[in-house]
Symmetry: D2
């Protein structure tokens, strides 16, 4: 039933978006809106758990937020406290059981948890727990945290949590809900984002600030790496469970691709970072051309920056079909076979006889880009130049991004010249790692750039690593 | 979310019907048919788990067998080994999680279990297990067995099972499936039935033999109380895990009401037992009348016996609407309000001016019978006599039948004379406990008659007992 | 898309059950209950149209009454006037369009119609209407009536209706609804039943009186052949549109098989007629045997009569599975392949070593009966005698019953001796036509017995007839 | 049931998109892709009818193309000939009956039709046809065409069609399918687009050329106003049924708003027209500002043109949520209440302290624009200037666009100064009608500009006109 699944799609997937709110009489409706704004972080399943301080209410299902929840459903999710989760996961009938937030009723206490990221010692921890008699119901590594807590000798929920966190390693942002508390946790290196906001008097948590914008909440600050934030009727309390002060491992790919351009992530507006990446790219790889053409929508900000810096006008050369979701989600095999044509159409009259620069956020396997270039050629472009707003991807991510296998990454198959040939472009330019790091605000040591340079901030045993990689989808 | 739920319906519910088969290439389709024949034992949810010796396939859902499974679904449940379960449980969105068979993947081994009956020490066992860190995902007491097995130090599956069975107390017939084994278990007192059959070369298990008839399998024997039967490619093996040889506690209410008349249960064809009950009833409570009228369908066999013994002709006075299921399942509130009229119509021309004897299998709360008698009066019956093919119900069952609370049972509210008055009958006669026991084959000590005389074969701590009762639906 | 469809099932189908009510604030809920009681007359689709005197509300769908309507749906069908329809029709996605009642909005007036029966000149009428420019939206012959009305020059709805009725020939009972009127119509020969009832102050119409029993309405009388009854706020009005006084053509097969035993049809309670048929049968075909065994449920009444007349005791030898509907409706191919075993189980211990008489209502193709007899033999019956409560079927019905083709009818393939051999029975006895007619109340000239003796009350052109037969399902 | 419905949404709706293909073995799958590309023209229902030259297959349902059709469904729509339709219509259970293509089986011939546009004499035609006995099944004015054809005395399908077209007046592009022919029709004034394409050897028809791009078909030419094109196995044939050569009434709002930017409509690429509109707008209403900010996505092309012409840089100030469809379709009331914030988020860091020019395609009621401006102010914009790429809307459209009532249009409530005040902008500039007409290729007389200047190319009787308007949704 549960099988190891590799995605054939061109792009990447991350595991989720998180939201939590305390103190609002319409908590589940707010959570619904928060999830709606975070939909891009996980389109396959979603869930909300709410509480009125006594009873707990839950709904989780496969599908997007809009389809899974309606007014009646939201009304049934009563209470002033709610957490929500959107998830990108494997398909199939059995995957509802993996929909988050995970929920348990243990020793008379309710407890729900939503997790964004990936643990790197889940394999050995699960083995150890099972040997002691724990039974796993899901294949989410988040369940490990719950079992560790259940086995903690402490009577205090917070102590249980801290003792569990001390055992796990990897990338994790968590929203946790008990009957009367909302808790936010971020791993000691801060791989994935998690923010604290305030909607009038109500504290809230979200993976990205775009969720705050939609509900008209204000960003207060990021949850700090190694921090636990506890929100209840007494207010807010913060605990540092890990002292690793100076080292950070913010996933820079959140800036390049994952996060919404209107979010503030790791202290910067994503759109502005991307624009900066585009500007730096223009300086690193100048080109003579008639137009800059963005690949919508993830390449748009960088293309704008490229255009500003290069003084080459921006043109709409590619029209996106609004009825398709983000690149990697294709509901029907039928559509998948038609590839990129379904998602984008090229404006032949704009492109014909022109020298165009296509700006994209990243290239992973290159197969999509290749078809795209071919379509530009068919549309009559005289020259096609490709500019990419990050360095070439070469290494697997163990912290929550599901790249294709290393041997499928185009940058592991070819050198730059060969890539240009494979894609059939007149020139290609990748942003340098240095250029990328110079385009962001924090110092280099604060970011994880492992997928580009193999520099893993948390050491991964090569053997274990491989196992983890293979099992990541299913634990 | 999970709340304590008391059924308002008139009748009783039992928790399930079980089926298992090993060695057939169409195991899941056979299981489907087996469950179909056992549908009367549980109409609210059903499930099948199958295995091809490597992978495990599962589908469980709310609804009846016919609605939950179709050809495509059955094709997807591959393998030569399958177990199935039909269940009567509480309603609501959260109850799919309690649909059986329960399934776990533990230490790399798959394991599924279907349970019929009720444990009487589940409350304390659950408490103990949770204190040690076990996390319960369902409110089925069957999950306790799984946790006990997971915590067993033994490496051998069978030893784990035996050690778990030694801890639990109560009524349980189990079908268990591992990747390559089919296992049947019956509790030491044999409360609930479980039979071993053979379909050509394939061993199979079923709660009732009517399942064997449908698939053209032959009844081999009952699983004995305290016996574990293990079926795999090496054949069949039997283990006695409990030595209590001479004491039995077969639920005689299986004969009176639950089982299908064409099943052989506890060594006797149910229809013939019921006919015998009717004959004995006729002798104990003779009456002068024009017609014997059976309450279809559970009263039909007893009415036939009553008619034969009394020489009073049988007549169809009540026509059953075939589009309604068993008495206690009413899909729409709208219909429920109309009560018994929806299910039965009285043949006025037959009844008018006549002295009629209504024969029913049992009376629990009496409200349905009262309306029925009223309808006979309205139809013009001159005299209405009621004969009941079992003694008056007075005590709760802790072994798997969900009677109304004791204070709701008509026999606890009124004496016989008052009951006759309440029901507005010209006379009433209940079969005596002695008469009932004389109508069945085995000696008295082999049956549980607790619901009639309070004689509980397994001691129930009064306090604990109450807790268990209250929690039975949800544990 | 629309294809000519012949049913492979063993049994027959009739096209529908009708219900109507005027003046009740919960008209659609009453109609729902009425249809529920008439479910046996059509299990494949159903519909209700209601009106509050201004707006008209409608819901029609494939499926049984219980599944198609719920409380919310019924609430949405507002008004004090409602008609309903259950239908047995061909399957497939396109057949919802044929679900009845048919509804039209013409010249600003709403109009709905439900039809039970079959027209014999529909082919030529449809051809004629299409040639004049009428467009048919369904393949129901009822639509012809609507087009004839639409083309009538008269301004008065009733005159339009009468002029349409004068053009059509065949069997038809109709319930018609306008915004403020409920109308009942029965063809001049009264093939199909239609009754007038009263629920307190509200007039109602139903195909069978069992619908009145459920809603606690009283039977007033049958709608007379050739009568139109108009019910509105002014009360009830009756019009005779056809003067054929002395000739009737009541379908006697309604008594034998179709109608519910608790209904009063053509002036007699169906159960009592069937019992009488069984008594006559016992006299015509006496037999020495240990038991009379009814084929549930359509053979039960006749078996009871046979038992009373023959003094041979009745026994339950066959247990019916309550989770299967009437014989001819089998939802899954999978089940169909298993044939009769799914629906019935034989009580081996009852039958073994005995001489049994199986009493059934009718035999059409004989294939089901043959398997049934075989199962009795396998169960160990010493002798199996078959008694059939009507004569052998030999001729097609053009008035609304969809028998198999004449060449498939067992009585057209074999003589009595050969039938006994084919079925493998020790003896067989069919009720004689004379015996059947002597068992019903009215004189012979009042019944249609065409399916047994080919004596068609309405002359059918042989060529046309054949066309009509082939098209009956789809016209 | 069917009620007159006015949409409260801010925007407009048009009735449909059309597609047809002849000669391809996977005709229905091609049609599916064609409809997918035309989804923006109608999001509420869709349908495909196909034929293999003998049988006809059909599926129509509420919902978007992706949800309504899956692989199995498409496989069931067999044949080499298919037409498809996407439709924006009123909601509710009864509206499936209005889903197109409409389908009839008349005199043994199958016939399906899809219609884009609106007839202006449908009211009187329907009245006339009903008086003659025609029965309408839908409230689509397209059904009038079918009834006119059915009543034509001619035997030839094409003659029937021409005689029907001579009776109807208004805007209509039609795709028609018989068992073996694909037919395209465009009204004499050419209000709505319809194009002829070729996919290898197969002729195809589509409302917009973006459908051809997706299936890799080539645009051959537009169907000419007053032309019927008949495609069958003999090839393609063209008939002119109306000689009005020099007058055209192309709906210029197709360029401004409806059509996809990558389509070629009325001989021009829509994106380039919009860019030109933006350039002209920049010249007509110059402004000093820091950024041009497009309202995605319909304002993007015009904003680009404005930026090029004004030399003011383009910035992404508004981020669109990709999980919302076109402006006027909002699935949940809950979301509707939150208004534009759900669809768009403003990039505060970009906007803060800046003078921004918002460029939008059109303003109808102004309520959305007002909230949008407010959000820019809240985000800290120093100045907000609005530029609109078409003139102010003042008049109703009788040819297929469902604007709000005239009294709801902002340009009928206020003068330009008041509009600026109402919207709270520092300045506002609408493109002039002259400027708009100068920005498109054809001469002025070829376009319908009635919604801006009240100059109706087809005279509408004021009284009739009103009726038509009110009835347009439901006929």
């Amino acid at each position: 039933m549960q099988k190891k699944i590799y995605e054939d799609g061109e792009r990447l997937k991350e595991f989720c978006g998180l939201f939590g709110i305390y103190g609002n009489p319409e908590a589940s409706s707010i959570a619904y809106l928060g999830l709606y704004a975070l939909q891009h972080r996980g389109e396959e399943s979603c869930g909300i758990v709410s509480s009125d301080g006594q009873e707990v209410y839950m709904h989780r299902a496969m599908g997007q937020v809009c389809d899974v929840f309606d007014e009646e459903r939201l009304r049934s999710l009563k209470g002033h406290l709610a957490i929500g989760h959107v998830r990108y996961s494997t398909t199939g009938s059995s995957s509802v059981k993996n929909a988050q937030p995970l929920f348990v009723d243990h020793l008379g206490g309710y407890f729900a948890i939503g997790h964004n990221g990936n643990l790197i010692n889940s394999f050995s921890l699960k083995k150890e727990l099972e040997a002691k008699g724990s039974i796993f119901q899901t294949s989410c590594d988040s369940e490990i945290i719950i079992h560790l807590m259940a086995r903690s000798k402490s009577k205090d929920m917070l102590e249980k949590l801290v003792s569990a966190l001390k055992r796990i390693k990897g990338a994790y942002s968590l929203v946790i809900m008990t009957e009367d508390k909302l808790i936010g946790v971020r791993d000691p290196l801060g791989f994935r984002p998690l923010c604290l906001g305030k909607l009038k008097d109500n504290w809230c948590l979200a993976s990205e600030t775009c969720a705050f914008d939609l509900i008209e909440a204000k960003l207060v600050r990021e949850i700090e790496p190694g921090e636990i934030v506890i929100i209840d009727k007494k207010g807010i309390k913060s605990i540092k469970f890990d002292a690793q002060k100076d080292l950070r491992a913010h996933c820079i790919f959140e800036h390049v691709y994952f996060s919404r351009p209107d979010s503030i992530v790791f202290g910067e507006t994503v759109h502005l970072v991307r624009q900066k990446l585009g500007e730096t790219l223009a300086k690193e790889h100048p080109v003579k051309a008639d137009f800059i053409i963005p690949i919508p929508d993830s390449g748009t900000s960088a293309a704008l920056g490229f255009s500003h810096a290069s003084k080459i006008p921006l043109e709409l050369g590619v029209i996106r079909n609004h009825y398709v979701g983000r690149t990697f989600i294709q509901p029907h095999q039928h559509i998948r076979d038609l590839g990129v044509r379904v998602k984008f159409n090229i404006l032949k009259e704009v492109v014909r006889g022109k020298r165009v620069v296509i700006v994209d956020d990243s290239i992973v396997r290159g197969t999509t880009s290749r078809i795209r270039v071919k379509n530009f050629r068919l549309a009559g472009a005289k020259e096609v130049h490709m500019r990419v707003a990050c360095p070439p991807h070469k290494f697997p991510c163990f912290y929550g991004i599901d790249f294709p296998r290393p041997e499928e990454l185009i940058a592991n198959k070819y050198n730059i010249k060969e890539i240009a040939k494979f894609l059939d472009v007149d020139s290609i330019g990748y942003l340098s790692l240095k250029g990328m790091l110079n385009s962001v605000k924090l110092a280099k040591k604060n970011y994880c750039t492992a997928c580009w340079n193999g520099d893993y901030p948390l050491p991964v045993d090569k053997n274990t690593g491989k196992n983890i990689l293979e099992e990541r989808c299913i634990l």
